[in-house]
């Protein structure tokens, strides 16, 4: 027994947490997958096995289509805006400006807030009777209109702006670290070669940041799939269901519409989406390490 313990001390020490992970992570994933094959309503019931019918129903629910499409629309716009502006801000801060840490803190500050707070702040700001619109009117721009929150066609931009405001700091910090990691001599060589700074960024420095891009895309993608609190606080899926996201759909089905089976199916589809992003990333990462 003693020898066994000595030899396997690390395994023994880790086993409680491994067991917890096995039960609460993989166990519940399996449980959710099992529920998704039943016709459970308010409570899980396994005597109502329906096979893949819930998936068939899911993909024939118009609201799921809106939510799923929104995820890609919101995700695409969010990635594009956050990465390009985050990189731009990082490049501006990298110019060895005065009061660098001041600007860095400003950009990083929203990161410290929860999505609920972010959602509520932007709800106020974008509210036509309270926020930016009123302010612009008071400044004399009477024709100014900002109806993102009430217009189903543009409400997605409200989500993008709020999510960008929150996520920009992290992206900027990652890019700034990447920029600072670039050998000073490259810049000097470029100066001697007479390459203008923007060309150095476009042709040399930004391509060198490829690993940072990969990390940023994966981090942001995961936050897109997980996005829930922001939507609930900012738009609550509205107007109508026009700003629904899969996570909101799932929550609604499980706890308001008492349709646990359908909710579980949507959860499994979301997990599939996350894995589709993560597996290629892990593959590339491990291959580079090897």
């Amino acid at each position: 027994m003693r020898r066994f313990l000595q030899r396997h001390v690390s395994q023994v020490a880790l086993s409680p947490s491994l067991a917890l992970i096995a039960i609460f992570l993989y166990g519940f994933i399996a449980y959710t997958a099992a529920v998704s094959t039943t016709n459970s309503k308010a409570f899980p019931r396994f005597d109502t096995f329906v096979g893949l019918e819930q998936y068939w129903r899911l993909f024939h629910t118009p609201r799921w289509h809106v939510a799923f499409t929104n995820m890609f629309l919101f995700g695409g716009l969010f990635l594009l805006v956050t990465i390009s502006l985050g990189l731009l801000i990082a490049i501006l801060i990298d110019q060895r400006i005065r009061a660098e840490s001041f600007f860095r803190s400003i950009v990083m500050y929203p990161m410290a807030m929860s999505f609920v707070v972010t959602g509520i702040i932007w709800q106020w700001l974008l509210n036509p009777t309270l926020g930016i619109e009123v302010m612009m009117h008071q400044l004399g721009f009477e024709s100014f209109r900002l109806d993102w929150l009430t217009n189903p066609d543009t409400v997605i931009w409200a989500l993008v702006v709020a999510a960008f405001w929150q996520g920009c700091g992290l992206v900027m910090a990652l890019f700034l670290a990447g920029l600072r990691g670039i050998d000073e001599d490259i810049w000097k060589a470029a100066a001697v070669d007479g390459i203008p700074a923007w060309r150095v960024y476009v042709f040399i420095v930004i391509p060198m940041l490829a690993p940072v891009f990969l990390t940023v895309v994966v981090l942001l993608s995961l936050s897109i799939v997980r996005a829930f609190d922001l939507v609930v606080a900012l738009t609550n899926g509205g107007p109508g269901v026009s700003s629904d996201l899969p996570s909101v759909f799932m929550f609604d089905m499980a706890f308001r519409r008492t349709n646990l089976g359908l909710s579980a199916a949507s959860a499994v589809v979301m997990l599939g989406t996350v894995l589709a992003i993560l597996i290629p990333y892990l593959y590339i990462e491990t291959r580079e390490r090897a």
């Binding site: 050998d183 000097k188 100066a191 001697v192 070669d193 007479g194 203008p196 060309r199």
Partner: protein, 360 residues
């Protein structure tokens, strides 16, 4: 013809004076090596010549033109960096072409030029590779190639070989030497490797704490150092120093260094010696040899330590309270503790004033 003139160059970082009144004139075709301990301002001086750093006061002229306020790209210089500084996202070919393309040279001229220089540096078979797929030596060749295609008036090298292993360093050193002999372009080369400095330089500049100590041909700097710092900095193992006093008797000068009195009859004094002057007498280890009987000055000393370096034996000899090192041929192996007679080559002596530390 002067290719590069550095006049009264000063550089301060806040209150830190990194370069103090540097003056240097470099003729066309010279290979100048800047040598000095870490942090003495070699790189700073090179960056100022390149235009990568602004000088606090003074002026730089390249090819007769005042370039003090000219951008690096318009100074007609090319630079090779210690970290190679290749553009990692581009092929070797693009690395070499990029600077020329920026200058608006037509591709029809760039192509053959790049290929010619690549052949010259034996990297023509690597042109389509990325820098990450090259060895350190190959990368440095590419970096040199990138500088060569620019055909500048002055080449600047900042410790280009210090990331390479000893053997590669030696072979690259000879290649750079050959390259300079065939091209004849003016070059400034920073290193803290003495061997590189001695072999490459047509003239050597020894610096310390932002000041030039001595400028001269390598053998001149090595054999006639102007002060104790230069004498001590050059040579491995370092010069032997013996503290003592001058004695003037009947028109003859000698140095009393405690254990012995060294005659200085043949020594060419730069300044007139005075009786009793405190001095440091310096003699390089290779001038302390086993006696063959013919030397004008020899001492019998006891070896206390012997180091074999392969090509020769370094013998530490007790001399009074001090120790001096002799460089004996490898077939001359004295026995520890058994006195040997060593001859001093007095024509190689250097005598310094103990106070001012200058050569007298």
């Amino acid at each position: 013809m002067i290719d590069l003139r550095i006049s009264n160059c000063n550089k301060n970082y806040g209150s830190l004076r990194v370069l103090k009144d540097i003056n240097l004139e470099i003729e066309r075709g010279e290979f100048i090596v800047l040598l000095g301990p870490s942090g003495c301002g070699k790189s700073t001086l090179l960056h100022i010549v390149a235009g990568l750093d602004r000088l606090s006061a003074g002026a730089i002229e390249i090819g007769g033109r005042d370039v003090t306020d000219v951008e690096p790209k318009d100074r007609d210089i090319a630079m090779v960096f210690q970290s190679y500084a290749l553009y990692p996202t581009m092929s070797v070919r693009s690395n070499m072409e990029f600077g020329l393309r920026m200058r608006g040279k037509p591709m029809s001229e760039i192509r053959p030029l790049v290929e010619e220089k690549a052949r010259m540096l034996h990297i023509d078979h690597l042109l389509d590779r990325r820098p990450s797929q090259l060895s350190g030596g190959q990368r440095q060749r590419v970096a040199i190639g990138r500088a060569l295609v620019r055909d500048p008036k002055v080449f600047l090298f900042d410790e280009p070989l210090s990331n390479l292993d000893a053997k590669l360093r030696a072979s690259m050193r000879t290649e750079i030497k050959k390259l300079h002999q065939s091209l004849g372009t003016t070059a400034i080369y920073v290193t803290h490797d003495q061997l590189e400095a001695m072999t490459l330089a047509t003239r050597m500049v020894v610096m310390k704490a932002g000041e030039i100590q001595q400028v001269g041909k390598p053998e001149e700097v090595y054999h006639r150092p102007v002060n104790l710092f230069v004498a001590d900095f050059l040579g491995n193992p370092g010069m032997n120093f013996m503290k003592g006093h001058l004695r003037l008797e009947g028109g003859r000068v000698s140095a009393d260094v405690g254990a012995a009195t060294i005659p200085l009859d043949g020594y060419a004094f730069d300044t007139a010696p005075t009786d009793g002057q405190a001095v440091v007498v310096g003699l390089r280890p290779e001038s302390v040899q086993p006696s063959t009987g013919g030397e004008p000055f020899a001492l019998t000393l006891k070896p206390t330590l012997i180091e074999h370096t392969g090509s020769d034996n370094l013998v530490v000899l007790a001399m009074g309270g001090e120790e001096i090192v002799g460089k004996f041929p490898s077939d001359m192996l004295p026995t520890l503790g058994e006195p040997v007679t060593v001859g001093f080559d007095l024509s190689r002596l250097s005598v310094f004033d103990a106070q001012t530390e200058r050569r007298i």
